[in-house]
Amino acid sequence: MNERKGSVFDGIAADNPVLSGLMVISPVIICGDTIKNAQALIWAFSVITFLSVLISSFVPKELPYTLRVMTCALISSTIYVPVRAAAEEVYPDAIARIGIYFPLLAVNSLIVFQSETRFFRMGRLRMTASLFFYILGFDLVMLITAVIRELLAYGTINSRIADVDVLISGLGEPFGGFIFLGLMCGLYRKLRISLKSSRSAEKGDMNVSGK
């Protein structure tokens, strides 16, 4: 029971799409420098990915792989049309700032390629729950990255001036995004490794006491 629950929540921590799978990293690197950008991207990614994967799950599995991938890409590109129109109403400024990364969200690897191996093998209800947490995992990483980078690079939090002594403007640039994301991935893995080892140590202790 525990294992099954854990696998549904995998997307948040254990198998985070950005930190573990290194998927959809370009928007995080380039646009994850302010909270405003992050909000718009989170909204777009969540809606497009959720609807696209959900609808794509109805594509017959009997179709050849190439056709399935193509259909997934075409479905997400179609969903992009109303999402884009809605985003222009909700986040009119952010659309211009995000630029090409908005449409690129619609053809991200989580929708086009990974949905085959990650989601379509599950039952629909379980898939929906798992997909929700994968999206949440991306959203969390995007938000954390944006908060830290905006604070350190521009000295603001959601455009409000914060008290930061030395600004590291390089963190707001693409190279800063690469380096920051690399460090975050490393720390995430370190945490995972140490959690795993402490768990296995606990199990070992229990086995010994059980004996």
Partner: protein
């Protein structure tokens, strides 16, 4: 193995001696502030190295003191007036991001000081490229009232320097704390080359590359002035000794190292000439890191092939000997 470790430590000691002499010169020109900057860099680097090694589950040994020489190189490349926190962040970046993340001194990919300087340049370009005039004696935490552009900046734009040759030789012109002392740098370079502490090929390649391009396509009107000034400005001499000729990064064979240094210098000079950018040699050195890595792996391949050939010959030799005996 023990001999190699001993040699590494001796190299570090030699480099430290030359860096400390440059630091002394910086103290002579700028006072206690130069010492404060160097001490901050060394303390932050030491702490960062110690903590990150612990986190990696490794022990801190005497060999890990190379972080101190990298810290001194950084402090000598920065202006003495730099905010000490910026100096600290730069050293933290050098130790953690450019070195220990890749496995530390046993798996060096970038020259830590070079990559960290580029990081400082991209994040705090104003603070990094404005300098106090020489002989502006500053207290430990004192900041100068007036900051000026470096002599390199003036040279890149006008092709001229308003200093006498003696002043240039002694490093008596505005610029980074310790990388302007030309005479001392030349002596240090000679000493390090003769002791085998730096790559002679890379050093000569870098100087020749700058000199040749500066002569063929001068910054100002005079070819001779362009040749002389191009070598002493934009940290060319300093980078040639401590960054390009760094044995941890440069190709091992002198001939390859020569071309490596030559290409970096030519690239940097052309960038200076066409864009008037200050100190492009450091960023060029970072940019040529993949080339250095590729050359090093090529060298390894050549070495292993040579070794295999030697083995074959050795195996053949006794067999031939036996045959000869049989003939007799």
């Amino acid at each position: 193995m023990l001999k190699k470790a001993k040699k590494e430590r001796l190299i570090w000691l030699d480099i430290m001696i030359t860096l400390l002499s440059l630091e002394l010169m910086a103290y002579f020109y700028y006072g206690m502030r130069a010492v404060a900057s160097a001490c901050t860099c060394m303390a932050v680097s030491f702490a960062a190295e110690f903590i990150s090694l612990r986190l990696m589950g490794k022990k801190f040994t005497a060999d890990d003191l190379t972080c101190i020489s990298d810290a001194l190189i950084i402090s000598l490349m920065l202006p003495v007036s730099i905010d000490l926190r910026i100096a600290g962040y730069t050293c933290l970046f050098a130790v953690v991001v450019t070195k220990n993340v890749f496995g530390g001194r046993r798996n060096m990919i970038f020259a830590p000081a070079a990559a960290a300087y580029v990081f400082a340049l991209t994040s705090w370009s104003r603070e990094v490229l404005m300098y106090p005039e020489p002989h502006t004696k500053l207290g430990l935490f004192e900041k100068p009232d007036v900051l000026v552009h470096s002599a390199s900046h003036a040279f890149n734009i006008t092709g001229k320097l308003r200093y006498t040759d003696l002043e240039i030789l002694m490093g008596n012109f505005s610029g980074p704390a310790g990388s302007a002392s030309v005479l001392l740098l030349l002596i240090s370079a000679l000493m390090l080359i003769f002791r085998g502490d730096i790559s002679a090929g890379a050093f000569l390649g870098s100087l020749l590359g700058t000199g040749l391009t500066a002569y063929l396509s001068p910054v100002g009107y005079s070819r001779v002035d362009s040749l002389g000034y191009s070598v002493v400005t934009n940290m060319v001499l300093f980078a040639s000794v401590y960054i390009i000729a760094d044995r941890r990064i440069a190709p091992r064979r002198n001939i390859f190292a020569f071309y490596y240094g030559f290409l970096i210098a030519v690239t940097a000079y052309i960038l200076t000439l066409t864009t008037a950018k200050e100190n492009p040699i450091i960023a060029a050195a970072v940019l040529f890191t993949p080339a250095a890595l590729a050359i090093r792996s090529l060298e390894r391949k050549i070495d292993s092939e040579l070794e295999a050939e030697k083995k074959k010959e050795l195996e053949k030799a006794p067999a031939d000997g036996e045959e000869a005996e049989l003939h007799e």
